[in-house]
Symmetry: C2
Subunit: 121 residues, 2 copies
């Protein structure tokens, strides 16, 4: 077996593009991904999975149809499956995402922020 730790900062250092999640680990049929975000995302939901956000650096706002949440470094939130949400970051935010493998970042919303689901770093 390969006994190499996955270092979060080292992995963040390998990419600079935004809204394009990178897979760093797999847990059964779930994946742990890193993503950089800045600005406004699109309204979307994930019909097949809850989605965990953990903020590693910066701040994130997530808008919901009936409210919003503000997350800062060291804070976590679970967006339930089927709940529409729209992330926003005024300045760049680094996050961990945890969700079912194959989850598309934009759900069924499509658009130019839709990223591949199979990129490991």
């Amino acid at each position: 077996m390969n006994y190499e730790p996955v270092n979060l900062q080292e992995k963040f250092g390998r990419f600079s593009d935004r809204w394009a999640p990178k897979i760093i680990a797999q847990l059964n049929d779930y994946q742990i991904k890193l993503v950089r975000v800045k600005g406004d995302f699109v309204w979307h939901d994930h019909e097949e999975t809850d989605e965990v956000f953990i903020v590693i650096a910066g701040k994130l706002r997530i808008d919901f149809r009936d409210g919003q949440i503000f997350l800062k470094e060291g804070e976590l939130f679970v967006v339930p499956k089927g709940v529409e949400h729209k992330p926003f970051a005024e300045t760049e935010c680094e996050m961990i995402l945890i969700e079912l493998a194959g989850t598309v970042n934009t759900g069924n919303a499509g658009g130019d922020k839709t990223a591949p689901t199979d990129v490991w770093i």
Copy 2:
């Protein structure tokens, strides 16, 4: 819906016992847990799930039958299902665990470090 962030440090501040994982979030049928560890754990495996370790503070060594790994703050490792392992921390280590809900910390090994699987904080 309840739009309250889960703050990792605030949650760690709520308990001081060791080797007793506390649930802070649920993602479908998976749970995110916090745990404090120090000293030697027992050899065990989890037949039903991979297990993610993320070190938040301190250092962790995980022994395997054919090697070992050293994790420090900001590092992650996935122990595959069925692989025997034994965590060890020389000084106190704070970690996130991610695994299937209901996973017993000692697997089938039993003993006095076996903790309840349903404690939320």
